[in-house]
Symmetry: C2
Subunit: 108 residues, 2 copies
DNA sequence: TATCTATTTGGCTATACTGCCAAATAGATC
DNA sequence: GATCTATTTGGCAGTATAGCCAAATAGATA
């Protein structure tokens, strides 16, 4: 890997890595509409519950999501409100990287 | 993986995946100061040249970087100017994910 | 043309990640 | 306490990724 600073922006890499997976991005996008419990997320994603749980662990460890236990359920929600802006940034980093048509403004 | 829409935001995932690697993020951050040829990038990262070349291929395929051949050299540069904003967004997605101290404003 | 430099590509091994099943844990209800 | 539901954890097999070396390509220079 080439021993260098490499670990300087390791937190950024952790966040990016957490989001750089179809299921995990889908989950995070879904939580923009409000919190969901694991069962609901599992139904949304379609993977095995254990797989979903591990995805959620990764997202929470990166700080992208927070979790809260209420009764038997564990509810997950976004760590901050700015995830929508973040997605816009992603769409803008590469020219025409909009996934859902073209409702996002181009910056360059 | 659970057959679902999953491929809807595949472009976003591609961009995120490209940046979710220490060397590739380092390269992209370095290019904020202007274009660099492969040799210079290799010196910066410290990996083997072939490894660096593959990283650059991934970043270019995702649309994050553009390349231009001049003489024997291939120069790489950012695909757009908004990468700085993007990094700010990354730092804001998770609470206190700032890597380089705390000069980035908190959003939540 | 021969050669030299810069970069890319192919191929290989080591490592990391994904996703499933089964088992364990935690809390609610009987 | 027994049982039921929701979630997490351990472990494994399959797949993908990383990084090195060697070879190939592309263009410059002799």
């Amino acid at each position: 890997m080439g021993a260098f600073r490499k670990s300087v922006s390791s937190k950024r890499v952790e966040v990016l890595k957490a989001l750089a997976h179809p299921s995990r991005l889908l989950i995070t996008e879904a939580l923009m509409n409000g919190e969901l419990c694991v069962g609901a997320i599992q139904a949304l994603v379609g993977d095995d519950v254990s797989t979903v749980s591990k995805h959620l662990t990764i997202l929470r460890a990166a700080g992208v999501l927070r979790s809260e236990k209420r009764g038997l359920n564990v509810f997950y929600q976004l760590g901050c409100d700015c995830f929508g802006e973040f997605l816009q940034c992603v769409d803008q980093v590469c020219p025409s990287s909009t996934s859902s048509g073209s409702k996002t403004k181009m910056c360059c």
